[in-house]
Symmetry: C2
Subunit: 329 residues, 2 copies
């Protein structure tokens, strides 16, 4: 008598600068169980990797499963990722450089591991589950602490020759504009990321303008991330003029960046995600759509859909699980 093989499951992990999330999925990408922990990036790669391992073990355990029930594990991390070598080449948010994440996780968990950039993983989650794999050509833009992006071209994730394509955050929209964390000037990220909006608020306050967010701006200087996107939303909704102007400008620059991407890639759909969109969708999307439309020269040929993802912070774990499922070993 042969044993009936047990149904296999997948794990998707999204490692972020502040939070790490793991989820157990069926092969049909239905979420079975998820767990979120704080990443503790400042404690260094060894401890962060141990925390990822524990988070995966606990999530699998919480689903009533064992690691042997897991077919493979996909992990999205911020920064420059080389999926083929399994290395996180550079991830400033994690203070990582050349971390061999795949082999270290494989050693600890004894399951096949697939790693990918977090925006690319999130885009795959959105494309496969939310968009049901339909668009042949799609652009993903993730407004968060920074700005990430990912491209699905001809039905597949596009990485280009070095696997790093889709880096939309450092498109220069304003030559000679405000300084970006990357050292360049006037990058998209300078205007429309959370960090960028905080800097724009700080610049205005230095010039004598006022906002109800002043205490949080002081706190942000000591503790990065103190002024969250939700605080921006509350300020806008309470009528704070400076916050309104900065968020409006972020939406306008996002619309201009989207028009540039439409000219470049002629996608069927542009999908937005990330914490900023999660918090400020209602405030930003009408301006984003209107500005993108006004700046799109070829809208008489084709006008792509511009939408906010509904997957929220589940996009990353879902996409990481999809990548784990589809990976050819």
């Amino acid at each position: 008598m042969t044993k009936k093989p047990r149904t296999k499951y997948l794990v998707g992990v999204d490692v972020g600068g502040s939070k790490t999330m793991a989820g157990v999925f069926t092969r049909q990408l239905k979420l079975v169980n998820a767990l979120k922990i704080s990443t503790k990036a400042h404690r260094g790669a060894d401890e962060v990797i141990q925390r990822i391992v524990d988070c995966i073990r606990d999530t699998v355990d919480g689903a009533g499963l064992k690691l042997s029930d897991i077919e493979s594990i996909g992990v999205g991390t911020p920064g420059v990722v080389e999926p083929r070598s399994g290395t996180v080449v550079l991830a400033p948010n994690l203070h990582w450089k050349n971390v061999k994440l795949r082999s270290r996780l494989a050693r600890a968990l004894r399951r096949p591991i697939i790693i990918e950039n977090d925006s690319k993983a999130a885009m795959i989650g959105i494309h496969e589950v939310e968009l049901r794999g339909k668009p042949r050509h799609a652009v993903g833009i993730f407004l968060g602490t920074g700005i990430g992006g990912a491209l699905v071209l001809n039905g597949a994730l596009y990485g280009g020759c070095a696997g790093v394509a889709g880096e939309v955050g450092h498109m220069v929209l304003s030559v000679g504009g405000p300084t970006c964390g990357c050292g360049k000037h006037g990058c998209f990220e300078v205007f429309a990321s959370r960090t960028g909006m905080v800097s724009r608020l700080q610049d205005a306050v230095k010039k004598g303008e006022h906002t109800i967010l002043e205490d949080l701006l002081v706190q942000e200087r000591r503790e990065r991330g103190a002024l969250r996107s939700g605080s921006l939303r509350r300020a806008v909704r309470s009528g704070d003029a400076l916050a309104k102007r900065v968020v409006h400008q972020a939406a306008e620059y996002t619309g201009i960046a989207i028009a540039d991407l439409i000219h470049m890639l002629s996608p069927e759909i542009v999908v937005l995600g990330g914490g900023v969109i999660g918090a400020l969708e209602r405030e930003m999307m009408p301006t984003i759509r209107r500005t993108a439309r006004a700046h799109s020269l070829l809208r008489f040929v084709h006008e792509p859909t511009i939408m906010a993802s509904r997957l929220g912070d589940h996009a990353g774990i879902t996409g990481a699980a999809a990548l784990a499922r589809d990976h050819r070993r």
Copy 2:
């Protein structure tokens, strides 16, 4: 006794706002004979199409061949082209709107006709002949009267969902910058096309600056195209400070645009062409390369080659012939 089938040839045509060129090629894309005429765009589509037909007939005749020796004919035109329907949807340089070029040429010449956007045709010429089809991912940027672009992704011309991808000239590099012919502000084209550089010179002269090009600037206002790229080169080489500054700025903005495209698409190679590069390669390429490098964040992962095409104005006819050869009927 069976007749030995005669070797077949291809024709490639490049229709421009001022000149139209046709070439007869072997299936190995060796040029047999070429002919250049003036387009006379102002005389309207009927006469331009008749001139294209005559130019093709004369080129074939000049090669000692008959139309029946021609397997198929590829035609590149400026503007928005729908290869599938064979329509030039919009070509401001030709004053064309919804011109059914393919069926009209097919009726006159009784050969299979393939039409494509001129930058895409030129990129195929460069990719197939100059680069021997090697790069999997390549970006082409053509600085001329305007700025055109084309992408080869995963080894093939990339058009996106509407076939219009690669429109790099209207990337916004300077929000709120000088007005572009398209109605937007601060497009790449405003700084680095011939038209854009002429406008920058005119703006400076209005503000009281001087240049040896002043007479040509006056003439350009009456007759578009009077100030050619070669005149810019002569002014730069004779030490004209204003011309030097405008050409230097054009090169800098081109470098910034290239860095944006590298971040977006991670190509192996970025190739530059068009009349401006043809005339000003020596003046512009060092600044273009240096600026692109300085603005590329991921150059430690991979640094694409940035080069000027050697095909010059043969790129378009060569690529059009290649498209004609490879078209699946």
